[in-house]
């Protein structure tokens, strides 16, 4: 967890994790959707829950010529719409009084010098530590400019005149588009901030159920002894979206594709949480050391033949989702009509470790699938065919443990049970735990948890440099294979609203398996 020395006697034992420290939060890209819909509501909800430290100042940094007042009004309007806990005037006023707008181009060095002066002034007024948290929520094209200018303005360094102060940076995804660009961005980030002060956000890790994976595995004695090749047949990770390219997202997506947009970060993070060894402790590096070992142990699909065998890319055609006609991917707004970008990808991943040798991890992600759902299913091996093979229908199937990430977060276990009656018939039944049914209180949004952790200096739920680069190394090789001409890796097609292309079904069928029906 955090590394700050506890010198406040009242802190100890009051909460089960580090308290966030007072700081100035500077958000780059403050006029954007992320700031309005996620970041400010997250800070507001932390204030509602009494988790936000007193004296936190928020500075929105952006190009538009807005006033403090105009900025606050826009934020308030959105907060009323989207805040998880509603909108309390008194809490909002208290928060808004600490919100300011800083107008500057991202490339303008002078703007950063003025920012430094403004932050110094805030520190003087507040009289406390000059802690700073920089949140880069701008378009990726500006990441370099922002980081380099922060460095030039002396905003990234530990200040000799401010003992114990910290400056941290949160970087939004996408963290690079290839291994080379990620390495370059890492160089720039680490040339400006130390790795310990760098927080690469992956909001999937802030989700309650993603955090619960470690609890499920390591706080329940029944699972961990079975969590290996001896008992697990295979694992499936599915991220299905029913949406397509609405709202102009086709422009970004057509350059990225499913593999870069979702698999490189979110889904490989989930895979590493499922497959990692128990960490020696719960420190940020204790957990991340184990996660990165998983990514490093992924068997590399580094030839067109291996990619053709183990990866399916696809695009949706015109079809029907939730009763509505929807266009095909290439007909979507801002998508190249000849696009070869995948809106669907399915992978067969092998983790070459003692624990997982021979156990495939099937990962799939797609747009315009029948419904929105992200889940991990652990498929246990079937029982020996000794006792019940003579019964009508035999044994239905092996046990399946399902971890639902979103929506309808929860965990279920499928097991076989005897049907009532005089004959011995079995059917699978489901034991189901749902967060919403069991805990009426809504979970904090991922951004609430992640912002709080960054203020408290706890990087456990953020990606480390080596994790990001190892993930890109794996992804890049697949992209290279796809890019090789004449190697016969076509884009598979499927009607929108179906569960993906036939080729993805065949990939599992070759192993004698099928995709789980969600």
């Amino acid at each position: 967890m955090g590394e700050t020395e506890v010198s406040n006697p009242f802190r100890e034992d009051l909460v089960s994790r580090n308290l966030a420290e007072t700081c100035s939060v500077v958000i780059f890209g403050a006029t954007g959707d992320l700031t309005h819909r996620k970041l400010i509501p997250a800070l507001y909800n932390l204030a509602v829950d009494g988790e936000l430290p007193a004296g936190v100042k928020i500075l929105g940094f952006a190009r538009r010529d807005w006033t403090d007042e105009g900025f606050r009004e826009g934020l308030e309007k959105l907060n009323r719409e989207v805040s998880r806990t509603g909108h309390d005037e008194e809490i909002w006023e208290s928060l808004a009084a600490n919100v300011q707008f800083h107008q500057s181009e991202f490339q303008d060095e002078e703007g950063y010098r003025r920012l430094a002066e403004r932050l110094d002034e805030i520190d003087r007024e507040r009289g406390g530590k000059g802690n700073r948290l920089f949140y880069i929520a701008s378009a990726p094209a500006f990441f370099d400019d922002i980081l380099l200018n922060l460095k030039k303005a002396g905003l990234s360094q530990e200040r000799p005149d401010c003992e114990g102060c910290w400056s941290r940076v949160i970087v939004e995804k996408p963290f690079g588009t290839t291994l080379a660009t990620a390495q370059h961005l890492n160089e720039v980030v680490n040339g400006t901030f130390q790795e310990k002060d760098t927080y690469r956000i992956d909001h999937y890790l802030g989700k309650e159920t993603a955090q619960n994976i470690m609890v499920l595995r390591f706080a329940n004695a029944i699972f961990e002894p079975m969590w290996n090749k001896e008992h697990i047949d295979h694992v499936q990770i599915t991220c299905a979206e029913h949406l397509g390219m609405e709202g102009g997202r086709g422009g970004y997506y057509d350059k990225a594709g499913a593999l870069r947009d979702m698999v490189q970060n979110h889904l490989l993070q989930l895979l590493s949480l499922v497959a990692m060894e128990p960490p020696t402790d719960l420190t940020a590096d204790g957990v991340r050391d184990e996660k990165v070992k998983v990514i490093r142990s992924l068997r590399q699909w580094d030839t067109p033949e291996l990619v053709a065998e183990n990866v399916v890319r696809g695009q949706y055609l015109k079809g029907n989702v939730n009763g509505e006609e929807v266009p095909g991917y290439r007909e979507e707004d801002r998508v190249d009509p000849d696009s070869e970008t995948e809106s669907y990808v399915a992978l067969r991943c092998m983790i070459d470790t003692w624990r997982w040798s021979g156990v495939p991890f099937y990962v799939r992600m797609g747009k315009r699938l029948p419904k929105k759902a992200t889940e991990i299913s652990i498929h246990f091996k079937e029982t020996p065919s000794v006792l019940f093979n003579a019964t009508p229908g035999g044994v239905p199937a092996g046990n399946v443990l399902v971890i639902r990430i979103q929506p309808d977060e929860g965990i279920s276990l499928m097991m076989n049970s005897k049907l009532p009656g005089t004959t011995l018939r079995m059917e699978p039944v489901k034991m189901d735990f749902r967060y919403a049914s069991s805990f009426g209180k809504s979970s904090p949004e991922a951004y609430e948890r992640l912002l709080l952790d960054a203020m408290a200096g706890d990087a456990t739920l953020f990606a480390r440099r080596d994790e990001v680069e190892e993930a890109w190394r794996f992804i890049d090789k697949i992209h290279h294979a796809w890019a090789e001409e004449g190697k016969g890796i076509p884009i598979a097609e499927f009607p929108a609203g179906s569960w993906g292309p036939r080729e993805a079904e065949e990939m599992l069928a070759r192993d004698g398996r099928t995709w789980r029906r969600l």
């Binding site: 006697p9 802190r11 009051l14 204030a47 809490i91 009289g127 009426g440």
Partner: protein
């Protein structure tokens, strides 16, 4: 299963005068009737995270507690067992009712918690304990909310099986006796039973605010120079105020010395003298103000009566920061809900307990 958000009501059943308790049932048939209640409806989900037992020695308390459970189960699915004991009744008898409290979870599925209510009349050895144990969901934790003072029915055979005991010392006529009884129970259970005083829960956000304010380096620099602690509270919340003071003393490593003319004298680690003063005010919020002062720094948390927020402030020469935050609930139901949300072993309360008892013994 009936309209979501309201009590379960079975249309063919004649209601008794205790309408919101649900359907009257024979005690021996409770499990069967509960099964029937669920079998009659496929659309609702029976959810339960704990056995939540609410006990009162006020025979009229069942109705109020049932209304409270209706609200509480929105966030805390449970099997609720309500027991009201009328020990003054001349003849022993038992009446029971079952119902289910249903809510729409996140606007979608109807989630229901079942409730069994008992009215126990007259004295009968071990009846409370046996009634409790006969109607629990196996394996789920047992949270017991004892309303009012611990009577002789609070006995080892009962409390040894509790996972969590909730009580409200602000309702006790003789807190010293009550806390000694609690200490014995803790000893008997070797600390396995988690104890939760709602008076302690009442000052949670005050403690959180003080911890947060002392993150400020200026407050930390002035910590060793603190010379005064002042607490203003409503007289009915004496226990919450004393516990808050005990927490400040315990966490600071200070030593209680003496009580002189209503002002406590405390010695800091450095040997400095600190005064601790209480102001009991009928017009104040439950906990109205906590001020920790040093010559050059003042840390204050305050709340106006009826306000749902607290104000946190730190002032030194040259700068002053204040900030609003949530306040603790005023009603027992809200405090219980907060407590159930936080969970934990409440070990901090037990650490503070010796200092609190010193304050209480002198106060009484």
């Amino acid at each position: 299963m009936g309209a979501p958000g309201g009590d379960f009501k079975m249309s063919k059943v004649t209601y008794t005068e205790r309408e919101n308790l649900g359907v009257p049932v024979e005690v021996g048939a409770i499990d069967r009737e509960l099964r029937k209640l669920w079998e009659a409806d496929d659309a609702s989900t029976n959810a339960s995270l704990m056995n939540f037992l609410v006990y009162t020695e006020d025979p009229e308390g069942l109705q109020k507690n049932s209304e409270m459970i209706q609200s509480l189960t929105q966030e805390h699915a449970c099997r609720a067992v309500l027991i009201a004991m009328n020990r003054k009744a001349s003849e022993a008898s038992v009446k029971a009712w079952i119902t289910a409290h249903c809510h729409l979870a996140h606007g979608k599925k109807s989630i229901c918690s079942e409730q069994v209510a008992f009215l126990l009349q007259g004295k009968s050895l071990g009846r409370l304990r046996n009634t409790v144990f006969a109607h629990l969901n196996s394996d789920l934790p047992l949270v017991f909310w004892w309303q009012g003072e611990f009577s002789e029915l609070f006995e080892e055979g009962l409390y040894r099986l509790l996972n969590r005991l909730i009580f409200d010392s602000s309702t006790w006529r003789d807190p010293l006796v009550g806390f000694h009884r609690l200490a014995e129970a803790r000893e008997d259970t070797q600390g396995r039973m988690v104890t939760q005083d709602l008076s302690w829960t009442r000052n949670y956000f005050y403690r959180l605010a003080i911890a947060r304010l002392f993150d400020d380096p200026i407050a930390q620099q002035n910590f060793s120079k603190i010379n005064k602690v002042f607490i203003k509270a409503h007289p009915s919340q004496r226990m919450a105020a004393l516990q808050l003071a005990a927490w400040v003393i315990e966490r600071s490593g200070w030593k209680l010395c003496s009580l002189q003319e209503g002002i406590w004298l405390i010695e800091s680690r450095e040997g400095n003298e600190i005064s601790l003063e209480f102001d009991w005010c009928d017009e104040a919020a439950p906990i109205a103000e906590l001020v920790i002062s040093a010559p050059d720094c003042r840390v204050a948390v305050s709340r106006e009566k009826g306000n749902s927020h607290i104000c946190q402030a730190i002032c030194t020469e040259g700068h002053c920061v204040d900030f609003s935050g949530p306040a603790d609930s005023d009603d027992p139901e809200g405090l219980v809900a907060s407590q159930l949300s936080r969970g934990g072993k409440n070990s901090l309360f037990m650490e503070v307990f010796p200092q609190f008892m010193k304050l209480l013994e002198e106060d009484c």
